[in-house]
């Protein structure tokens, strides 16, 4: 008995204290991201004492509970979710640029333009009808310009959201900070492991960083035997041991080649929110701008062609006439921009398309009448109420290659892409939740469990104390007997 008994009881007290400490640490961290539940690993003291009685309990370690498979599934699910939710947000923003179906959208403004032209065709010489058409044309170019500007603005916002790297507050700066922290933590973990220290809290911190980084960049990780975690994104190593790459952007949104490169000059194909932003900046937004410019091109080219082939109500020809006409020749209706007199179709023309200043100033300069020819008695230089050319303009409303059909195709594409982005975001979010729940089922803290542990440890502690007390009383009675 004696010393041995007391030390056995003491080892029990130590083990129970460790259990209590661990349980209360677990409870304190119940809401800490990245925290893995800790358990005390106990083993009976190996060497047996006299009479084969054990020598008590020993604490072999305090380990953090986790599961490598769940962790890696969780990391990739976070990356997918980061990308999907960012894409969904971007598509939602793009949709607000095209308020359809509504009476404020471009579709309804096009309809107004055509019906104003139809009214003008019935009354070609009427100043009011001419004015209305010019105003409707102005509305169209304003809407095209502002939609393009909103898309460019969205692209610029996304670009500054990504940032250029270093410390500009963008998501790339956050990613760089996380990479640096992970490398630092790797260093601590490797050193601590080698020195036999408990590195659970460092691992927890690193896990939280990795989760956050996964949402930003879309990464994969692997842990080396020495405890160091390698971070890869799109196959490019970003953290290796205690060395982290610093990411920065190259290229530009304007040329559609904005990219993220490492400090060693390797270009990444990132996933996550940053990857989604890059895709939107380089591909998705420019594609909508091109489609919107297709609408502008279809509008400008078809109307300008009819304008050039007709004659206005005053008898001014739409294009130069052989044989020395010295009067007014009609201007184009739509031009490249406010200082141009011609229209050139391009992938960005919707940004600057304008009503030609000459026509805006004098709305009577619209070719409502057919050019002189067989089938009409129009004469260059003679005023006419013929509205057949304006009728052809109004009929562009139904053209299957006209601006209306082109715009409807744009809205169809946008709707399909936005709705698929939304359902992808929902399913990615569900997958991420499942993955993180699975991980939490191993490493998360359950309050009841910890409380049961505390009660058990408390009871055991009381029992061990009782043993000490019993031994103490035995000693006392023995001492009194002497």
């Amino acid at each position: 008995m004696t010393d041995l008994g007391l030390s056995i009881a003491a080892s029990g007290l130590a083990a129970d204290t460790a259990e209590l400490d661990t349980a209360s640490n677990n409870l304190s961290n119940i809401n800490t991201p990245g925290y893995a539940r800790e358990v005390v690993n106990l083993a009976p003291e190996s060497a047996a004492g006299p009479l084969g009685v054990g020598r008590g309990v020993s604490i072999t370690s305090v380990s953090a509970l986790s599961d490598a498979v769940y962790e890696s599934v969780n990391v990739s699910a976070q990356g997918v979710q980061g990308a999907a939710s960012q894409t969904n947000e971007i598509m939602t923003s793009i949709q607000t640029v095209f308020p359809e179906p509504s009476s404020d959208g471009l579709a309804s403004q096009l309809s107004t333009f055509w019906s104003d032209l139809s009214s003008l065709a019935a009354n070609p010489g009427q100043a009011g009808a001419q004015q209305t058409v010019a105003a409707a044309a102005q509305n169209l170019t304003d809407t095209l310009n502002s939609s393009m500007a909103q898309l460019s603005q969205l692209s610029a916002t996304l670009q500054s959201g990504v940032g250029t790297g270093a410390a500009d507050g963008g998501t790339l700066a956050q990613a760089n900070e996380l990479l640096r922290q992970i490398a630092g933590l790797n260093q601590g973990i490797v050193a601590g492991d080698a020195g036999g220290q408990n590195v659970n809290s460092l691992t927890d911190e690193r896990r939280a960083d990795v989760d956050q980084l996964a949402g930003l960049l879309g990464i994969t990780t692997s842990t080396a035997a020495d405890g160091a975690l390698s971070v890869l994104s799109g196959g490019v190593q970003l953290v290796s041991g205690d060395v982290a790459q610093t990411l920065s952007t190259t290229g530009s949104a304007a040329t559609g080649n904005l990219a993220v490169t490492t400090s060693t000059g390797i270009t990444l194909q990132p996933g996550g929110a940053i990857g989604a932003s890059l895709t939107a900046i380089n591909t998705a937004i420019p594609a909508y701008q091109t489609q919107l410019s297709d609408v502008a091109n279809a509008l400008a080219e078809s109307v300008n062609t009819l304008q050039a082939g007709g004659m206005d109500a005053n008898g001014d020809p739409g294009s130069a006439v052989a044989g020395g006409w010295t009067g007014t020749v009609l201007p184009n209706i739509f031009v490249d921009d406010g200082s141009s007199s011609t229209y050139t179709a391009s992938g960005t023309s919707a940004a600057s398309i304008a009503v030609s200043p000459a026509y805006a100033q004098d709305p009577s300069l619209i070719a409502t009448a057919a050019a002189p020819g067989p089938g009409n008695s129009n004469v260059i230089g003679t005023a006419t109420n013929d509205g057949t050319n304006a009728q052809l303009m109004a009929a562009l409303a139904g053209s299957i290659t006209g601006p209306d059909a082109t715009y409807q195709a744009l809205i169809g594409t946008l709707g399909t892409e936005a709705s698929s982005a939304s359902s992808t975001a929902t399913s990615a979010s569900n997958l991420a939740t499942t993955a993180s729940n699975n991980l939490a089922s191993v490493s998360g803290v359950n309050e009841n469990e910890e409380e049961v542990d505390i009660l058990t440890a408390q009871n055991a502690f009381q029992a061990a104390s009782q043993a000490i007390n019993a031994m103490n009383q035995s000693f006392q009675s023995l001492l009194q007997a002497v």
Partner: protein
Amino acid sequence: MRVADLTLSQSISAQLDQQEQSIATLETQISSGKALNQPSDNPSAVTQVLQLSSQASQLTSWQANAQTASSWLGMGNNALNTVLDQMQSARTLLLQALNQGTQNATTYEAIAQQLQGINADLLTTANTQYEGRPVFAGTSASAQAYDSSGNYLGNSDAPTVIVGPGPGAGQAADLSVPGPQVFGSGSASVFTTLSTVISQLSSGSPTAAGLNSALSALDANISTAEQASAVLGNASDSVTSASAALTNQLTSVQNSQSSLEDVNVATVTTQLDSEMTNYQAAMWAASQAIPETLVKFL
């Protein structure tokens, strides 16, 4: 499976978020009355709605054109009825003049005076205007169809509007007929006929041959005007039927549009009701589940 407390609270809030989102969507639908509020709500329906509203806008334009045509043609028909009456009065006077036994220089002069009046009335009718444009001047921008001597100032193209789909700009409807198709052209015009008769009668001694040839010229003029009246009547009928067809098409386009676009209030309210019930149940469950731990019972 073990459930961590963090998982429980996270999944409760995620669940509540999702329910709030569907409630917000349904709420928007009810308050806007529209099932389609952005392209992603139903991409193919949105595209269809855009096509239908563009079609509806065209139909409305055509209907407005048909209305314009119908007003023009009504104006033209009225004018032609007057013209035919005036020509008949002229014919009666001419027949009176031909009854030479009872006439003398004074009565010839009186007939000439009356014919002069009819000629002036005819000219006024020929210059009938609709919304500031002479109805019988073709597509010419001339302010009048005929000058005071009965010379035609317009051109030979009938003004048109589009009242339906078709090749080129669409199905055209004539607004009117050019003057010469009503009053005869050049030396064969009713104005020439009348001024010839008037000068014969004013001379005091018209010849029977001269008056007879004037009568047959006037008969030709009357038949021309009757033909024009028939043309205008037909045009008016076809515009009326085009307009009726447009109304039917517009109604059916608007119905399709509304069935795609408008909220079925009964359905959506029921959906909202059941979402609200679920939402309340989820909140109740959360309020029960979150505070429940072992501690409470120790």
